[in-house]
Structures are given as structure tokens and as C-alpha cells.
Amino acid sequence: MMLRVLQGMAGLLLLMQASMASAVLTIEIIGAGEHQIPVSIVPFGGDEKIAQTINAVVTGDLQRSGLFRLVDPTGKSPHVPAEVSYPDWEVRGAEALAIGTVVTQGGRVEARFRLLDVVKQTELIAQAVSASENQIRAIGHRIADLIYEKLTGDKGVFSTRIAYVNRQGKKFSLIVADSDGHNEQAVLTQNEPIMSPAWSPDGGQLAYVSFETGHAVVYVQSLYTNQRRVLADFRGSNSAPAWSPDGKQMALVLTRDGSSQIYLSRPDGSDIRRITFSGAIDTEPHFSPDGQYLLFTSDRGGSPQIYRMPVKGGPTERLTFGEGTNFSPRHSPDGKSFVFAHLLNGRFHIAMQDFQTGQISLLTEGGWEKKPSFAPNGKLILFASEARDRGILATVSSDGRVKQHMFTQSGDAREPVWGPYP
């Protein structure tokens, strides 16, 4: 199974290699999780350069999650269980220890890795992770995912990808990158705006809005072949594409019949039918994980707020009240809550609301924070922010405790969206 996944990724990465740009430069981490698991990652044996890259990716991933405290392994370098002296690691306060070796053969790299429980002195994981030699970072992300999953009980998201728009002067690029911002690939570059990228549930396609023909048109582009098709190009604006969880339906926003209203279509653009009839601005539809409901933004009540309606029709419910206006709702992967951008007194915050209690929590202090989207495990939220007069990508843990800022090399990063599990 894993091999298949890696092979799929290999094809994808190979295809995109041509347009490979250099990586994100800086990542700043603010705050820490309540309980951090002390873990030590020993640089693997074998090819030193490859081992170092893998080590940097694994430690970087675990650190950014905010859930781990990395214990310095300096002075000890076991690579197999027989070389491990558990008291050495207990003294350093490590509860878990990762060791391993890398083997290169015929253009492929295999990392044979083990995760050991220092306290119980047992082996938690013994697994080989392999990929072609130009995807060493992917090996690191996979190992980080295995460690994260074993020690926290939640699925890791380090092997996932993100999409965003980078604006540099008049140039707009639609970028796909690894979850840590590295390995950026430009999917589309042009001198007209691009917005609202949306991942297909299988991660193989991106829907987005492009202004290249002079008005907003929705396209769907394959990330494997780079071929694309027009999803909707009616008069006025065509925008806000969203995929149903089964990938068989899309929601989008058209102004062909007047103001912005929500429509459903097949992913090939056929069978378009209108599902909101408010005459107000209804936009930013997002399917619930079970595919039954749509969250959306509407100003039908006088100001932009978050609403929910059944996809098949039925009563629409307003979900946000109180001071301020609200935009860009997205369901959490477990369907129990939603995130959105909350504008209050001229500042945008990333906010989360529980469906059952209606309780709102602000996850950020506020600024120019827009367009939140959940990581597929629901533990992190990616959003657009601003720092040092530049648009940047940022994440916040769903409990609001850990934040990180990702600075792209140049230009303004905007419109980020987290992709599905590979």
C-alpha cells in the first residue's frame, strides 16, 4: 500500500520537477503545546548527506507541530537496537528514540527506521520507507508522520501538500508545495489574478479562479498532466469552486442570473443547477465531510455571516451572530466545528465555532488573517497572514496554542488551502 502511494508521489514529483523553484526560507514558531513529548531523533547511518536531509525534515516537522520536545542526541549515535543503551536516553529525558540507516540502490533510497520506547525499552515501529533519490524529503515527511501517529494517536499530515497563490508585482503564480512550504511547484503563472484554489478529494486536481480572460472564470487542472478545462465561464463572475467529499459534485458561485448565488455541477461542468435563491451575495460554499451540508458566506441578513444549508435543499440556518462580520467557512475534518475569518473593528482573526454549542473561540490575535483551512487531521489550520509588510502563510494549532509563520522567498503568499492525505 505504502509503496503504491510512494510510486504515485514519485510520478507527480517527477512531472513537476521541471518547474521546481527554491524553497521557503524561514519558518518562525510561536508558542508550544500543553504537553510536549520528549523525543530524540538520531541522524541515521549510511550516506551522511541523505541522512542529514532526512533528519532535518523529521525534526523540523515534529518541532513545528508543537507537540514534541526534541532531545539532543549529540555524542550517541546508535543505528540498530543492539547499539542502544536505554539508560543513556532516560538520563537525557527522552521518552522515545528514533534510529535507522539509509541504503541507496539503483536510484532509490530506503530508510530502515525504528522508533523505540525508552521507558518501556520496547520497539514501537520498525519500518522501511523508500522513494527515488530525488524525493528524500518525502521519506523524512513519511517517517515524521509515522512517529507522530504512534506517539500522539492522531494521523500525521507532514506528507500532505498545500496550494496557495504567490503575487509578485503583477505576476501571479498558483503554487503547490509540501506541507512545510518546501518543494514549491508553479502550476500556473500569469499577469492576471488567481484565487480560490480548491483540491479535489484525491489530491490529483486543483480547481481555481483565474482572471486571464478579463473576468473570473473557474478552471480545473490536473496536477499529473497539467491539462486543464473550463468548469464555468458565464457572463459576470464565476468563482468559489468546492468539491464534494466523494469528488462527484462541485459547488461554485455564478452571477449569470444576477447576484452571486451558489450552484452545483458535475466536475466536468455539466448539469449546472442553482441551489440558493436569496438575491444577496451567497458565496464560499464548503461541503461537510459527510457531503450532506454546505457552509457558506451570505449577506442576506444585512452583513456577511456564516450560514448552513442541506445540499439537497431544505431550511438554511444562520450560524454566526454578534459583533463583526464573518467569511470563508470550512468544516473541520470531524465535522464537529468550523473555522472562518472573523472581522471585528478592522482586524481579521481566525476563529472556530463548535456546531453543537455555538461557542466561538478566536485562535489568533488578529491582523490581516484570512482564508483558513484545516489540515486533514484537524489539528492545524493554515491561513493567510501578513508580517513585515508581506503576505505570508501561517498555521495555528486547533487549540490556538502553537503558531508558525512561513515566509516564502519573495512576493505575497495568499489564498492558501491545505490538501488531502496523499
Partner: protein, 175 residues
């Protein structure tokens, strides 16, 4: 800012009113005089067709109310404000009298909203101008309304001075 816009509109209105009665003779004269120093040798061939056309087209007159090609809005509002109505009405009249001219209405917003909400708001702004032009005599096939939302700001600051410039609909005539 609003006062300033009103000021500009008023000045333009006055200018337009003042120049109205003597428009034809005034317009004809400079057309003839500009063609003279420019290219004397070729004057007989070129002059008759081109200058007459531009002279007759008030769209190219910088003192005309038609020189105003943007209407501005308060925050999260898409209705054309009273002070901008004469501008839109003048364009409607012009379009009704020049059936061959086409104009694109481009709605824009400030950044206080999501991109998608602002795309909808910009479209509503452009559509509002579109409707007013139609009511004023322009025909639907002369008009196209689009929105850029907050994607093409004229000014990039996070302040009202920038925002007030970005909340607008531009009337962009096809060349």
C-alpha cells in the same frame, strides 16, 4: 475623501455646463488648428476624416463630465451614490447616442472582506452601474460588467485613504 470627490464632480459639472453652449464651435476650431502645425504636407489627405471624428466625440473632451470614468462607494455598499449619478447618467446618454461604443464596467472593492465576498460585491457594484446605464438609454449589448473584487487595488495601504480609492466601479470604454 468623499468631500473631495463631490468637489471634483461639482467642478466637472460646472465645467460641463459652462462649455455646453459653445461646445461645437470651440471643438471645431482646435481640431483645425492642431492639424495645421503637425503635418502640413499631409494635411489634405489625413485631416478631413480623423479630426472631425475626435472633435465630435465628447468622450475625448477632458472638460466633459464624461472624463469621469470611476464611481466611488462607501464600505460594503454597491448603490451608486447621489454625487456620482450625474456621471453615470451622462455616460448613459452618451452610449445611447453612440450605439457603436462599448463599455466594460469593472467593479472593485477594498480588502475588508474575503476575496470571494468582495468578488461578489464588486460584481454587484458593476451590475448596479450597468443597470443605471441601461435605464438611461444604453443598450445591453454595449455593456459588460465584471468584478475584480479586491484583486486589483489602485492603492495598497491598510487605511481609509487607500480603501476609498479601491471601492469603485471603472467605466472602461473599448478602444
Amino acid at each position: 475623501m468623499k468631500k473631495l470627490i463631490i468637489g471634483i464632480v461639482l467642478v466637472n459639472l460646472l465645467a460641463a455646463c459652462a462649455s455646453e453652449p459653445k461646445k461645437e464651435p470651440v471643438a471645431a476650431a482646435p481640431a483645425a488648428s492642431t492639424s495645421a502645425p503637425a503635418a502640413k504636407a499631409e494635411a489634405p489627405k489625413v485631416a478631413p476624416a480623423a479630426p472631425v471624428k475626435t472633435a465630435a466625440d465628447p468622450l475625448n473632451d477632458p472638460t466633459s463630465i464624461l472624463a469621469n470614468r470611476s464611481v466611488y462607494y462607501p464600505f460594503d455598499v454597491a448603490v451608486v451614490q447621489d454625487e456620482d449619478k450625474p456621471v453615470v447618467q451622462a455616460h448613459a446618454k452618451y452610449l445611447s447616442e453612440h450605439a457603436n461604443r462599448k463599455v466594460r464596467l469593472e467593479g472593485n472593492c477594498d480588502e475588508r472582506g474575503s476575496n470571494e465576498y468582495n468578488l461578489g460585491l464588486g460584481q454587484r457594484r458593476a451590475d448596479g452601474v450597468n443597470k443605471m446605464l441601461e435605464l438611461g438609454g444604453a443598450s445591453a449589448d454595449q455593456l459588460e460588467s465584471v468584478s475584480y473584487g479586491e484583486e486589483k487595488p489602485r492603492a495598497s495601504g491598510h487605511d481609509e485613504a487607500s480603501w476609498s480609492q479601491n471601492r469603485r466601479t471603472d467605466l472602461n470604454y473599448a478602444k
